[in-house]
Symmetry: C2
Subunit: 518 residues, 2 copies
């Protein structure tokens, strides 16, 4: 134990055995919360920040946001907003007063308290892919998602220590009826993982069911659930300039109960937003801030994060493109604005590629570096995303986790230690011209933990790689996927709690679940 702890503290990357749940499929990093030490990349000047802020405020003041939810409209009317039909206009002083109510950071505590996360504070947290309707792996090709595939991806979500929170369904299990799907998948999520949970804001029943199941899984009273965030939702506006009924309904329910709120407009420049990135960012901010204003009216101080999903379309086809140069800069600009508003920030790990090949990885790398450069706190879809979010892939999931581990290691300050030990003048003098460092005591004392050790990258030379079967990265990831799901052991859960969850699911199913008419 002590040795494992030392190894972990000293770095390098490999987990002590204490952090793995019985599986020897891979030797991965321990659970850790990466803290991003880099100064953000700031493409906007102070005047640029002011210009985008002014544009966002003018959108809120002059153009307005449609709220297709009467309850929301009533609250906003009461707050003194100008409401005509469903279009709400709000003054910038009021907006800023409400936004200032939101905390700069907040915790979310899942049923396993060791998996608590703090959103903000230079943390950068990674979540699994969410919501693709389709699944692809090397064996099956592209097929509509199923519950089994969803479970497999949840196992990866739990297994990898570099995944800090669970997003939405890692693949949409379309073999489950939509009215009760949320019950089955939440049961799977809560039993297969012990990480932070998410609820889709798709109407009253789903949100209330998920909150109740998260409460049960945590063994919490209602008061305990309400006391501090135990889960979160992420909503998308219907860009341009519209918040739909079910999203707002879920948003307000979670706000009342003090849970985590993330709003992420999907502003594709040239389609749902202006073709110019500054305009797309300003519109995205206006849509996001409008939802945050509503939340802060409902429950002052409720934790909110602002998300960005601003990218551009392929102007040849109209298809969305991801990990583009324009995407990177929009993410960085949004990061500057999130700091201006004092809000935690969410971005994504995304690509347009259809299969986990080189293109998939360069596009995903661009989006992940944009997340780091923008000071993003929550990285959605950080593992497993393909085809602009239409496909979830286990191979891509595992390839992404290799990259996420490397980025976590990149953020460890030990690499840049400049103490006397690290400067190593004695070792340099000892080895001298033409010598070799491997045998020195300085190297021997440090070599097991000095460098990041990958679990998926193949660092053999070509001949050794060929002798081992000449396996390309996606195939290696596929083999690893099979090993991991076969050896997977779910995290511990009290039998009584599991039974209570199962009973809740059975009861709610017998009541018909949730309506499916939106």
């Amino acid at each position: 134990m002590a040795e494992a702890a030392t190894r972990r503290r000293r770095a390098g990357g490999r987990a002590g055995n204490t952090d793995r749940r019985g599986s020897a499929a891979i030797d991965q990093m321990p659970w850790r919360i990466p803290v991003n030490p880099d100064a953000p990349v700031e493409p906007l000047s102070q005047e640029g920040v002011a210009a985008i802020h002014d544009a966002a405020m003018r959108i809120l003041e002059e153009i307005g946001i449609e709220f297709l939810n009467d309850e929301a409209l009533e609250i906003l009317i009461e707050a003194g907003c100008d409401v005509q039909d469903a279009t709400v206009r709000m003054g910038r002083d009021f907006v800023m007063e409400m936004v200032r109510r939101a905390p700069a950071s907040f915790t979310i505590t899942p049923r396993n308290r060791d998996r608590e996360i703090t959103v903000g504070c230079k943390h950068i947290l990674f979540g699994n892919v969410s919501s693709p309707p389709n699944y692809w792996d090397i064996e099956t090709g592209k097929v509509p998602g199923t519950r089994n595939q969803c479970r497999d991806l949840l196992k990866l979500t739990q297994y990898f220590n570099c995944i800090h929170f669970a997003g939405g369904y890692p693949v949409e299990p379309v073999d489950l009826h939509a009215s009760t799907r949320h019950l089955d998948v939440l049961f799977d999520k809560l039993t297969i993982t012990d990480k932070v949970m998410h609820a889709y804001s798709l109407g009253r029943e789903r949100v209330e069911d998920v909150m109740e199941m998260v409460r049960i899984a945590g063994g919490l009273s209602h008061d305990e659930f309400d006391a501090t965030p135990r889960m979160y939702t992420n909503i998308n506006s219907t860009s341009p300039l519209k918040h739909d009924f079910p999203m707002m309904d879920g948003w307000m329910r979670l706000a009342r109960r003090g849970q985590g709120l993330v709003v992420t407009p999907f502003t594709l420049a040239g389609a749902m937003a202006p073709v110019t990135m500054a305009g797309a960012v300003a519109q995205s901010l206006a849509e996001g801030l409008a939802a945050i204003v509503l939340a802060q009216m409902i429950k002052p101080g409720v934790p909110c994060a602002i998300g960005t999903f601003t990218s551009n379309v392929d102007m040849k086809s109209g298809a969305p493109a991801f990990g583009t140069p324009e995407y990177s800069r929009a993410t960085q600009m949004t990061g500057q604005m999130a700091r201006f508003y004092g809000l935690p920030m969410r971005a994504s790990g995304v690509c347009a590629a259809n299969v986990p090949d080189g293109q998939a990885m360069w596009e995903t790398e661009h989006s992940l570096w944009a997340a780091i450069q923008s000071g993003t706190n929550m990285v959605y879809h950080a593992a497993g995303w393909l085809e602009g979010g239409l496909i979830a892939s286990p191979e891509k999931f595992i390839m992404d986790c290799e990259v996420l581990q490397q980025l976590q290691r990149y953020m460890e300050p030990e690499i840049c230690d400049v103490g006397d030990d690290a400067l190593a003048l004695d070792a340099i003098a000892e080895v001298g011209p033409g010598g070799h460092f491997f045998g020195t005591q300085h190297t021997q004392d440090r070599y097991t933990t000095a460098f990041y050790q990958p679990f998926l990258s193949d660092w053999k030379n070509f001949e050794a790689w060929e002798a081992a079967g000449a396996v390309w990265t996606p195939e290696r990831a596929h083999q690893m996927f099979k090993l991991i799901v076969n050896e997977f052991e779910p995290p511990a859960m009290d039998v009584a709690i599991r039974d209570e969850l199962a009973e809740f699911v059975a009861r709610r199913k017998s009541e018909g679940g949730a309506p499916t008419d939106f």
Copy 2:
């Protein structure tokens, strides 16, 4: 013409026809010199910079560098250095006085003056892969390099506008005898490309032959050649702490004639340098600065750049690893130090992967982002490198060029324009809630140039991609490679100059070329 010029100026990425040489194989960006607008990532504090500087100076003062070259030793003795056997120790005041002689930036002018580059000034310039002994493509697999493969890769070097300078041989043509190889390859390089040329510093004959051929190709008198850099060399020290004879010999010859000098120690942490990155960086700097001191003694003000090739070994196998977290931070630290010394900086685009798959791209992405983050001015091996530099691959070359174009676009300030046109409030008001931007005049006026257009990335949806043959990225790159080399037209060269080059090669071959005994 006017329209093409407007399109180019307005951005987006696609070349006007005027910039392509007859080939329609791909629609690429025009030639441009990317200027890196991002503030560098600086993992070292001021004290950290001082500590690494002090360590580098103590290496030079106390431990010393071996110069296995009598001419170099004589110059350094004359300068007052402490020389015992071949080990040279030099005081920090002297070192800094010499280093200050080097310019902060310099131009290199190839035979086509439109391809002149300035090294420094926040420019980031990309060069092709250099020196792998082997070639790999999807059809042939891994084979020793040949002249034909070398020519094909030179065609790619010339073809792609995002490649700004030619490095060493893009693959070592081992079917050519080593004594005359440099003559044949330089003939190929000078006739297939018109970009900035490189000479290997491998002894007198090679360096003198290459300088003479570059002079002839440029139609220059000897005085014109000497007046300003027309080419450059890159040397590696024999780490730890040693400069070998032929490298120093070539270095000094180019210094005397005022050509570009790049010194890049290959300091693999844990092997040729300390296992700790700060020590590896300090040692690399000491080795590099020692060569720069020598150059500045020989010709004050001669252009020098300091390179980094500090990475780590795989501690399981001892094999070099590239694009690792430690590599990224070492590159950034070296960038801080290069700015401290006022020297242009060279880094690389590198990976350990054996084939152009996902791993190849995430490792290469890490190294390319490290180059951007470190303020690197010359990026060696930016296209085509595999297997830690043992393989050159045309597919990887083309995949890398797609990434390089995207990074060039990323650096264009227009993306972050916050003028009224870009903020697009009128368009947002016109479209309103629930509308669509595609049809607006604001979009129509801008859509052809608003966004980067890839030449290799496939942004089709899965079904369209599948209908088009389900071609993965390396296969697409292979097809493109065939198209490009088949359609390639060499840049214009005066027949008399070409004849003079051919005569020079024939004469020097008849004289036996260069010795091969080192």
